[in-house]
Each structure stands twice: as C-alpha cells, then as structure tokens.
C-alpha cells in the first residue's frame, strides 16, 4: 500500500540525521585536536551538557519545571565517590552505571510526588527533595565527609585499560563517549511514539489523556530516566575530578542548569550541548571581571533572556547560520529551532 509507505517515510523524516547534526558532532570531535591544552574545561562542558540533556528530557519534552534537579546529580556523584573510595566497585564504567541506577531509584520514588499537582507544587517538591538530600548529606557527614566532601578518591583505569591521566585526556574521551551514547539513546527515545506522546502531554495533558495516553505513567517513566541521566552526569563529575562535596546538591547548581538549558533552547536535544558551551564561556568572561559576584551576572542574564524573550534571542542567533545555509544550499534553512520556545 503506497499510502502507508508515504506515511512511513514522512513519520521517519523527523528522526533522520540532518547534515547540520553530523557537522555538529564533527566539530565536537575536532575540539580535542584544536585545543589540546584545554581538556579540563572541555570535560567540564561535556559533563554539564549531559546534565542539561537530562533536564531537557523532563522540561523540554515533558514540561516539568524542576528547581531541584541537582538532587539526582548529587546522588550520582556521591554513589560514584563512595563506590570508589571504599573499593566496592573499582571499575569506573560499572560504577558509573550503578551510580546512575541509584539516582534512578530516587527519581522513580519522587516522581509520584512530582506528577501530582500543578507547577507550583512541583517547584516546591523538587526544591524540597534537593534540600532534603543536602540535609541528609550533612546529617550523615561521617559517610559523606560533610562540607569537606569525600577525601582521597582514587580512580582505577577504565575497563582496566585506560588510566586517568593528569592532563585529563582520558577523562575527556570517557565523558565524550558516555555523552554520545546517552545522546543517541535520548535521540532514539524522543523520536519514538513514547517521545511523541511526551510532547503531547506537555502541550495539553487533558487532551493527551482523551487520545488514550496514560499521562501519569509516561511522566513517571521520563522523570525516572532523566534522574538516571543526571546521576550519570554526577558520577562522571566525581570520577573525573575525584571530588564530591555537599555543594553537588546546591540550589545554585539546579538554577544554573536551567540557565544553561534556556540559553541553548529547550526541546531539541542540542540545547544542553550548545548551552553548556555558551555558559562556560560566559562564566570565564564574568569571573575574569568580578569572580566573587558571578551570581549577579547569572541573574542578569536570566532576567534579560526572559524580558527580551527566549524565542526572539534564538531567532537572532540563528539568523546568520540560516542565511548562510539558504545562500549555499538554495533551500529552506535546516538549522533546528528550539520548539518549546513558543510555550
């Protein structure tokens, strides 16, 4: 039946790899060769990108505003740290997965609180959970090391073969591979029927249930998955920096994360990656001016972004690349525009 073939082709069109996407990853791959002395900051960007990807899954795709996503980052970070410190799991990849699963368990149980109620309740619950985790960390400082954090974490070689080096080269490639694999998974998911149903839920939950979509079950699933991603990001943080202290749970971390995501744009997966690069560059710039009052500048960026309008800023930024593509290819621009800006 040719009509069905047409349907199949059209339905698959959105999940096909675009030239701009391939170019993007080629640029990412080129970075370590272009900036061989900047492994540490590039690793930092990759971890932040993964963490932001996690927030994009729930905020950009499912419409859940979270003020406490650092809770899962922190659980991942401490799990990885404790596993390595006490020699429970020495192999980093296995420890990474276990740490992700630990965050995922917390995500699953707290998702039942998050799906209830309206935005305001969600804000309070997500913020409350992160604060609760922080307070727990303080209460059991004999385990977590309190404000000093875990001391003396030593990482074993990855898969028993690749030792972490002092320039951060191994750490960089490790983070890049993890990020890329999880990105592929996320990309697969958002182009599946499940991913499509999330967008329907974000736009109009009532309508979604009238189509037959089990709204709560889908939200629980994506929230749990996002917690796993955040846990992995946290674990990567501990494994590559050999640090885990209470500030992994801090509110500023959750708030920065939202800023990173809105800089990059929500709901098209690349927002976290682009946002992380821009955010780190802004951070270097502002910290050069007034290292102590960095918070002020973050705040100012947030206020300006909202007042000017996130969608408008993204249109300005995309104007030049789109123009170039139109001139060269002589066709409609293919640079993806963040879709959730309208909401």
């Amino acid at each position: 039946m040719s009509a069905a073939n047409d349907v199949s082709t059209s339905a698959k069109a959105s999940s096909r790899w675009r030239v701009s996407e391939v170019l993007f990853w080629i640029v990412v791959l080129a970075c370590p060769f272009l900036f061989p002395s900047r492994y540490l900051i590039m690793t930092d960007i990759l971890r932040l990108a993964l963490f932001t990807l996690s927030l994009d899954l729930i905020l950009g795709y499912a419409g859940i505003v979270s003020l406490g996503h650092a809770a899962f980052f922190g659980v991942g970070a401490y799990s990885a740290g404790l596993l390595a410190l006490h020699g429970i799991i020495n192999e980093p990849v296995l420890a990474l997965i276990v740490a992700g699963l630990a965050a995922m368990v917390l995500g699953f149980f707290t998702s039942f609180l998050v799906i209830r109620g309206v935005d305001l309740t969600r804000l309070m619950v997500t913020l409350g959970i992160a604060l609760l985790m922080e307070a727990l960390g303080e209460r059991f400082s004999n385990i977590t090391g309190g404000t000093d954090g875990l001391q003396g974490i030593e990482m074993q070689p990855i898969l028993g073969m690749f030792a972490f080096d002092m320039f951060g080269k191994t750490g960089f490639w490790y983070c890049l591979i993890v990020l890329f694999l999880l990105f592929l998974l996320a990309r697969r998911i958002v182009h599946s029927p499940f991913g499509l149903s999330l967008r329907a839920i974000r736009n109009n939950p009532l309508r979604a249930s009238a189509i037959g979509i089990p709204v709560n079950r889908r939200l629980i699933a994506i929230y749990t998955l996002a917690a796993f991603y955040a846990g992995i990001a946290g674990a990567l943080f501990t494994q590559t920096t050999q640090l885990a202290s209470l500030d992994v749970f801090s509110f500023e971390r959750s708030a920065d994360l939202m800023l990173v995501l809105v800089i990059g744009g929500t709901g098209y997966l690349y927002g976290g990656l682009i946002g992380a690069v821009v955010f780190k560059m802004l951070q270097e710039l502002f910290q050069a001016i007034t290292p102590q009052y960095w918070l002020f500048w973050i705040g100012l960026v947030l206020v300006i972004m909202v007042m000017v309008g996130r969608a408008r800023i993204h249109r300005w930024v995309l104007w030049l690349p789109n123009l170039v593509i139109r001139q060269i290819a002589g066709r409609k621009a293919t640079v993806v525009v963040p879709e959730a800006d309208a909401s």
Partner: protein, 289 residues
C-alpha cells in the same frame, strides 16, 4: 510541661512571622497565578533597610519598621510596573527563570554592598530577655512579634472582608475574568496588592532579622518555606496560609528542640505527607490554577 508551652509560644511567633513574610506571595499567586520566587528578596531589602537605619543612622527600632515596609513596597511597586507586569501572561518557566534571576542579582548586590556576614539589628533594651508567665518562659521580642503580627493579620482580615478594596480583591482572586467583566480594574488591584505584599515582606524581614538571621542568602534559604506556606495553605484565602504558617512554625521549632539532629527532615516529611494526602494543599480549593 512548661517547655511544651515555651515551644508552642516560640512556634507561634515563628509561624506568625512566616505568615507576614509569605502572605503577599499567596495573594499575588492566587490573583495572577504568578510564581514569584524573588519574594524573599523584598523581605531581605526590608531587613537591611531597618538594619542600616537603626545601626548606622541611630533611628529607634520602631521608627525604622514602617520605613522598612514603605521602602520594600515602593521597590515592589516600581518593579511591578516596569518588569513584572510584562510576565503575567508568560509560562511558569519564564516566571521562574525571571524571578530566580532577580533573586540572584539581589543576593550578589547585597553581598557587594553590605558584605556576606550575618548582621544584627540593635534592639531597644525593653525587648531583650524574657519573663515568666505561670512558669512559662516568654521572650519579650517574640511576644512583640506575636502582638504585631497578630494585629496585622486581624487588620488584613478586616481589610479583605469589610472594605470595598477587599471585596474587589476577593472577586478578582476568585475569577479574574469575571472580575474584569464586572468592571474591576484587575491590573490596578494587582499592582497595589503586589506592592503591599512586598511591603509586608519587608516588614517581616526587619522583624525576622533577630530570629531567622539576616544575610545576603536569606531569599534562597527561605524560598522553600514561602513555597510550603502557599502550597500547603492554598491561595484562595489568607486563612489557609495563616494556618499553614503556624503549623510550619510550631513544627519547625518543636522538631529542632526535640530531634535537633533530624531538624529539617521533620518539616519536609510533614510537607510531603500532606501533599500526598491533599495535592492541592490542606486548606486551599486549589494551590494554583
């Protein structure tokens, strides 16, 4: 037995303080469905104004309090007219981002101007210490807070139930669209309420410096408390937030006294249980639409 009463009294004082701090937030949320996470910044402003006037300028404490109210209200009104009013129709995400941005800016600005350490406001000696009432220790300062906040609450209740403005406000909270249809100038009512709420927060900030501590991170530290008050209390009346504040205050003080090591968990656990049981708040019709 007498400690129970002391704790109860301290909890009530603490709760009433929280109510004065947060009630503006509850009303603006109910009226415009606007999530203002920067509410604590107005409280901090009031606190610092009062501190500067009393400590540096030598003003008497009770003369500085009204000025804390007025200044915070004026700043609130100015920001409402210039910035906030453009965001009422925007998504909650935008509102959250914007108000977090404002909060961060206020934190860094106060840190820059006033320094990062906790400050104290010099209190008149009449307010220091405590006295015994039937064996129950009553802090003078806390007694004053109960009196002032109690009077404020009564006044608010009277304004809401007896005055023309109150009935307009209630109509607007109940159904903003219908209220516009009735010829009520909802944006004006809102602007006034917003400024008044900020003023109350400023007054609360000045009063709370002694009890809650005042430093540049105040707006972030107490954000969760304000959110608890409005989500648990609901935003359809001020009775809900008032009872929620008392519950939170007594619960927090009691938890810190009896199980100091488990301090914050008790409050968060109570909050979570309440929200599982009643997702829209204990007393509210809806926490927010």
């Amino acid at each position: 037995m007498t400690t129970v009463f002391t704790i109860l009294f301290d909890g009530v004082a603490y709760g009433m303080l929280l109510f004065v701090l947060a009630c503006g937030l509850a009303v603006t949320l109910g009226l415009m469905n606007f999530v203002n996470l920067a509410h604590g910044a107005f409280a901090m402003t009031g606190g610092y104004i009062c501190a500067v006037l009393v400590n540096n300028q030598g003003w008497p404490f009770f003369a500085a309090l009204p000025l804390a109210f007025v200044t915070s209200a004026a700043i609130g009104a100015a920001l409402e007219r210039t910035l906030y009013q453009h965001l009422y129709a925007r998504s909650h995400l935008d509102q959250v981002l914007f108000t977090i941005g404002l909060t961060f800016m206020s934190v860094a600005a106060v840190d820059y101007i006033m320094g990062s350490s906790r400050i104290f406001i010099k209190l008149p000696s009449a307010l220091e210490g405590q006295f015994d009432l039937f064996g129950v220790g009553i802090g003078r300062y806390r007694l004053m807070i109960v009196v002032i906040c109690g009077l404020l609450t009564l006044a608010l209740q009277l304004i809401l139930s007896r005055t023309r403005f109150g009935s307009r406000l209630r109509a607007a909270v109940d159904d903003p669209r219908a209220a516009i249809g009735l010829g009520i100038n909802v944006p004006q009512v809102f602007a006034f309420t917003f400024a008044f709420g900020c003023g109350l927060a400023g007054l609360g900030g000045a009063l709370s410096a002694e009890i809650l501590g005042l430093d540049p991170y105040f707006p972030l530290k107490f954000m969760i408390y304000f959110l608890i008050v409005v989500t648990v209390g609901g935003s359809s009346s001020i009775t809900g937030p008032f009872l929620a504040s008392l519950l939170l205050g007594i619960g927090d003080v009691a938890a810190k006294y009896y199980v100091p090591k488990m301090g914050p968990f008790v409050i968060y656990t109570i909050m979570i249980v309440i929200l599982i049981w009643r997702p829209n708040g204990l007393f509210g019709r809806t926490a927010a639409r």
